[in-house]
C-alpha cells in the first residue's frame, strides 16, 4: 500500500525509515542516556510521528529532543525492529533548522556545529582555537572554558595557527554544493 501521509511519507523517502514499524515497546527510551533531559523521549517521538498530524510534527521540530540526541545509537543497536532512530533524528534536525523552528536548547548546539563547519570550510581541517572563538562569538559564552584553554596550550594540545590543506577550493565547493546550497535542503 502507498503511504499517503505527507510527514511519514517524506521521512520514508529520505531516511527509508518506516514509522509504522515501531510497536512502541520503549526499549530505545529505556536505554537512552539523555531521555530524562528531553521534552519527550525517542519512543514518544516515534509515536508522534505515527499520528502523522501537522500539529504533532510541529511539536517535534520545536522540541529539544531532536537536538539532545547524541547519536550514540544505543537505541538502534537494541531496537527489535531495527528502526534507525539516529537517522530520523538527523533528518528532523535538518527539517527543524531549515524551517527555523529551533528550540532554545538547540541554539548553543547549532552554534557549535556551525562554528565547527566554518572552521572546516575555510581550512579543510578543524581549527580548535577558531572553533572555540567562533562558538563563543555565536553563543556569547565568552567566559566558558577560559580555564581550559591555557592548560591545553601548555600541554601542547592547542595549535595557535590553523592547519591548512592545499585543496581548500575543493572543500569550499563541497560546502557550496551542499549545506550552503538552498536547493539541497529536503523540503
Amino acid at each position: 500500500m502507498e503511504n499517503n501521509n505527507k510527514i511519514s511519507g517524506d521521512l520514508l523517502l529520505h531516511t527509508s525509515v518506516d514509522v509504522a514499524r515501531c510497536y512502541q515497546c520503549g526499549k530505545c527510551t529505556a536505554g537512552c542516556v539523555l531521555a530524562s533531559e528531553m521534552n519527550f523521549p525517542p519512543s514518544y517521538l516515534m509515536r508522534l510521528l505515527q499520528t502523522g498530524t501537522e500539529e504533532n510534527y510541529e511539536r517535534i521540530l520545536r522540541s529539544n529532543t531532536i537536538w539532545l540526541c547524541l547519536n550514540c545509537e544505543n537505541c538502534l543497536g537494541r531496537c527489535p525492529m531495527e528502526i534507525d532512530i539516529p537517522k530520523v533524528m538527523d533528518y528532523l534536525r535538518e527539517q527543524s533548522l531549515n524551517s527555523n523552528k529551533l528550540h532554545p536548547d538547540a541554539k548553543p548546539i547549532v552554534s557549535f556545529h556551525k562554528s565547527f563547519l566554518d572552521s572546516i570550510k575555510y581550512t579543510g581541517r578543524l581549527y580548535e582555537v577558531g572553533l572555540i572563538a567562533g562558538f563563543k562569538a555565536r553563543s556569547f559564552r565568552l567566559t566558558q572554558d577560559l580555564k581550559l584553554a591555557p592548560k591545553m596550550y601548555l600541554n601542547g594540545k592547542l595549535n595557535l595557527m590553523p592547519e591548512m590543506i592545499k585543496d581548500r577550493k575543493g572543500i569550499g565547493e563541497i560546502f557550496a554544493k551542499t549545506i550552503d546550497n538552498p536547493k539541497t535542503k529536503h523540503k
Binding site: Y23, Q24, C25, G26, K27, C28, T29, A30, G31, C32, A35, S36, F40, P41, P42, S43, Y44, N74, R78, C79, P80, M81, E82
Partner: protein
C-alpha cells in the same frame, strides 16, 4: 470432439473483486471443445456442486474445469462431485484463479486475461485427460509416534485405546518432555507432575504401546499405509531387563557435577543417571560423554555396586526396522538460553534465568525443593523482575513471531513467587498481555489484583550487575516513556520458544515441509492443522508452533483420530497418478528399448524388468514395468526416458505440452 464444461467461481468476492468472472465464462465458451461454461458465486457450495452435476448430465460433458481456488484446497471436493454425476473424477481439473491470480494482482484487464489463460490452459489439458481408476493398497495398522512429551503421550494413548498398535520413540532416557519440568500449570495452578506422571505410567503399561526411550528415527521410507521406519536404539549401557531400578549405581557414581538437563542446568546429575525420580522407565542409562570409564578406561564403580549385573559396557547402538501405516510427529520445542541476549549480559549473570529454569526453582522436585533461591548465593530474592517477549516479536534477533505461552507462564511465575516469598516484590515488563483462552485473562488479572504483581508496560534496554544486584533499565511507556530503574535480586527472561534442535534434519528424513523457523508445516493453516503435506504423517504439539498444554493435548487427540480414521479401512485408495510404460502391437510390443535409465532415476525402486515372450516362450525383449504399489508419481523417470516410452498418468507429455502451447499460442 470433446465436450468440456467450465465453471468459474467468484469465491464470494475473493475472485470477482479483481477478475471479471462473467467475461471469462463468456470468452471460454468460444474455445473449441468447450460445450458449456458458467460463473457462480460459490462453486464449492452445495448449489454450486449441484450446478456442476446437472451440467454434466444435461450436456453429457466428458471433461470439467473448475476455475476457483487452489486445487490443494478443493480438488477432492470437485472430483467427488463429478464422480457423483457419473464422470470419472480424473476428468476434472482446477484452474487456480484465486491464490495464483485474483489475490496476487490488482483489478484490471491483465488480471482477467490471465484468469482466462489459466482456464484455457486447463481446458487444453483436460481434453487430453484419460479416465483413471484409483489404486488400492493395503494398510499396516500400526502407528509410529515420535517424541514422548505430553503430545506424544496423549496421541499414543488415544491411538492405542482404539485398539491399534503404537510404537512410541523418545530421544531422552525418559518420556515426559517439557511438561515434566514444569512446577504448576496455568490457569489452574495444579501440579504438572501430579497430572502427567499417571499418564506416563499408563503409556509404559499399555498392552498396545511399545515404548523405546533413548531412541531416534534413523530413516523413513515408503508412503501412507506402508512406511518402513528404521529406529536407532542408542546404547543405554544398562540392560533394562536385568536392572531393577534400585538406584545403587547412581548413588555411587563419582561423576556428580554434570549439569542436569532436567533441571535446565541449575542442578547436577551423575554420569549413570535417571533424569528425574518419576522417570518412565525408571531405570538409568550411562552418559558416555561424561562417564569416567568411557573417557579414561577405568572406574566401573557402578558395575561393582549393581546387584543384578545389568551394566553392559560394550553395548552398541542398535537399528531396528518397523513397518507402520501412519506417523505422528510430536517432537516439541525448545527455549532460547539467557546467553542469547547481549543486552541482558550474554548469560554471564548467574541470577538472570530463563522461564524454564525458574520452573525448576519453583518446582518441588527441583534443585531447591521448590524454594525460590538465587543460583549465585542461595539467598531468597526480595526483588524479582520478569521480562516478557525476551527474543519473541524481535525481528532483529530473527524471531518475529509471538511465542504465545510466555504471557501466561510469566503471570504464573510472578504469582508463584508472591505465594512463596510474601514480602517479595515482583515486576513484569511486558509489551502486550496475550491471555486468550478459557480463564486466562482472569488468571492474569488475579496476578495483578490479588497478588499485587507490578505490571509495567515497556521493554527493558539492559541489565547489568552491581554490588550483587541486577540493575534493570526499563521504561514505562504508559507514563509517556518515563525511565524505570530497578535494583533486582533476580531477573527471569520469558525467552522465545523455538523449534527443537534437529527439527530440520528430521523433517528432511520424513519429507515433510517446515517453516523458516523450522517448525513443521501443517497441510492447511485452518482446515488441515494436524496433517502434513505428506499423506500419513501427522503433527501434534509445539513442533508445529509454540502452544500451551491444553492446545497440545487437543491437537494430539486430533492427530490420533486421523490415524484411527485411516486404520478403520482395510485398503487405502490412492490417486492413480503414476507412471506407466507404453504398450503397442507386435512385433514391437513397446517403444521401450530396455535401457533402464528410469530404474536409475526412480527413488522408490518401482521400476521392474518384464520379459516379453513369444508363443514359443522365447524372450523377445526385456522392457521396463512400473509397480503401481510402489510408484509415487514423481515422474522423474519420464524426464529420463529417451524413447519417451514411459509416461505419467495425469501429467502426461501430451497434457503438459498442451498446457504450455495454450499459454503461448495467441
Amino acid at each position: 470432439m470433446s465436450k468440456i464444461g467450465v465453471f468459474i467461481c467468484h469465491c464470494g468476492e475473493n475472485i470477482s473483486a479483481t477478475v471479471d468472472c462473467e467475461r471469462v465464462a463468456q470468452e471460454i465458451r468460444k474455445v473449441e471443445g468447450v460445450e458449456y461454461a458458467i460463473d457462480y458465486k460459490y462453486m464449492c457450495s452445495d448449489p454450486g456442486q449441484t450446478l456442476i452435476k446437472d451440467a454434466i448430465r444435461e450436456h453429457h460433458l466428458d471433461g470439467v474445469v473448475v476455475g476457483s481456488c487452489s486445487p490443494r484446497m478443493h480438488e477432492p471436493t470437485f472430483r467427488k462431485a463429478c464422480a457423483e454425476a457419473g464422470l470419472n473424477p480424473f476428468l476434472c481439473e482446477m484452474a487456480n484463479l484465486r491464490e495464483h491470480c485474483s489475490w496476487v494482482h490488482e483489478k484490471g484487464e491483465a488480471t482477467t486475461e490471465k484468469a482466462f489463460d489459466l482456464v484455457k490452459m486447463l481446458v487444453e489439458k483436460v481434453k487430453r485427460n484419460k479416465p483413471l481408476d484409483s489404486i488400492k493398497v493395503p494398510i499396516t495398522k500400526k502407528a509410529l509416534v515420535i517424541g514422548g512429551g505430553i503430545a506424544g503421550i496423549q496421541a499414543s494413548l488415544d491411538i492405542a485405546n482404539t485398539g491399534h498398535q503404537v510404537i512410541l520413540i523418545e530421544k531422552d532416557p525418559s518420556i515426559g518432555g517439557h511438561m515434566s519440568q514444569l512446577s504448576e500449570t496455568f490457569p489452574t495452578l495444579d501440579c504438572s507432575q501430579c497430572i502427567l506422571t499417571p499418564r506416563m505410567v499408563e503409556v509404559a503399561q499399555h498392552p498396545n504401546i511399545t515404548l523405546y526411550t533413548y531412541a531416534e528415527l534413523d530413516s523413513l521410507e515408503g508412503f501412507i499405509g506402508n512406511f518402513t521406519a528404521k529406529i536407532r536404539l542408542k546404547a543405554k549401557s544398562v540392560d533394562h531387563k536385568k536392572c531393577t531400578g534400585c538406584g545403587a549405581c547412581f548413588q555411587k557414581c563419582p561423576q556428580k557435577r554434570i549439569p542436569s538437563e532436567f533441571n535446565a542446568g541449575l542442578g547436577n546429575r551423575t554420569a549413570i543417571y535417571v533424569p528425574f525420580p518419576q522417570a518412565v522407565p525408571n531405570k538409568p542409562v550411562i552418559d558416555r560423554e561424561h562417564c569416567n570409564y568411557y573417557k579414561r578406561g577405568k572406574c566401573k564403580i557402578c558395575e561393582a555396586t549393581c546387584p543384578t549385573g545389568a551394566i553392559e559396557w560394550d553395548k552398541e547402538d542398535e537399528i531396528i526396522t518397523e513397518q507402520v501405516g501412519a506417523i505422528v510427529v510430536t517432537t516439541g520445542f525448545n527455549v532460547k538460553g539467557a546467553d542469547f541476549f547481549p543486552e541482558y549480559g550474554y548469560g554471564k549473570y548467574k541470577d538472570v534465568l530463563t522461564g524454564l529454569q525458574f520452573e525448576r526453582l519453583a518446582s518441588a522436585s527441583g534443585p531447591t525443593l521448590g524454594e525460590i533461591r538465587r543460583p549465585s548465593d542461595g539467598t531468597i530474592p526480595k526483588k524479582i523482575v520478569f521480562i516478557a517477549c525476551a527474543g519473541s516479536r524481535d525481528p532483529a534477533k530473527g524471531i518475529p513471531y509471538c511465542s504465545k505461552i510466555c504471557c501466561m507462564y510469566t503471570a504464573k511465575h510472578a504469582m508463584l513467587y508472591q505465594h512463596k516469598v510474601h514480602d517479595g516484590e515482583s515486576t513484569v515488563f511486558y509489551m502486550d498481555i496475550r491471555a486468550g483462552g478459557k480463564n486466562y485473562e482472569e488468571f492474569v488479572r488475579r496476578a495483578i489484583e490479588e497478588d499485587h504483581v507490578n505490571y509495567v508496560r515497556g521493554r527493558v534496554a539492559r541489565v547489568y550487575e552491581k554490588d550483587g544486584k541486577l540493575i534493570v533499565k526499563g521504561v514505562d511507556t504508559l507514563l509517556s516513556g518515563q525511565q524505570v530503574e530497578i535494583e533486582a535480586d533476580m531477573v527471569v527472561l520469558a525467552t522465545a520458544g523455538v523449534s527443537n534442535c534437529g527439527a530440520e534434519q528430521l523433517a528432511q528424513k520424513m519429507h515433510i515441509s517446515y517453516d523458516p523457523y523450522h517448525f513443521f508445516a501443517e497441510a492447511h493453516p485452518k482446515l488441515k492443522p494436524v496433517e502434513t503435506n505428506t499423506a500419513g504423517i501427522f503433527l501434534a504439539g509445539a513442533c508445529q508452533a509454540p502452544k500451551d498444554i491444553p492446545e497440545t493435548v487437543g491437537m494430539a487427540s486430533g492427530a490420533a483420530v486421523k490415524v484411527a480414521g485411516l486404520f478403520s479401512n482395510n485398503e487405502l485408495v490412492r490417486e492413480p497418478l503414476i507412471a506407466v510404460v507404453n504398450r503397442c502391437a507386435p512385433p514391437q510390443f513397446s517403444t521401450c528399448v530396455g535401457c533402464f535409465m528410469c530404474q536409475t532415476a526412480c527413488p522408490y525402486n518401482a521400476i521392474e524388468r518384464e520379459e516379453i515372450k513369444g508363443r514359443d516362450g522365447k524372450v523377445i525383449k526385456t522392457v521396463a514395468k512400473v509397480n503401481p504399489g510402489l510408484c509415487q508419481g514423481c515422474g522423474t523417470c519420464v524426464a529420463f526416458c529417451r524413447s519417451k516410452s514411459i509416461d505419467i498418468q495425469g501429467y502426461s507429455n501430451e497434457q503438459m505440452f498442451a498446457e504450455v502451447m495454450s499459454l503461448l499460442n495467441h
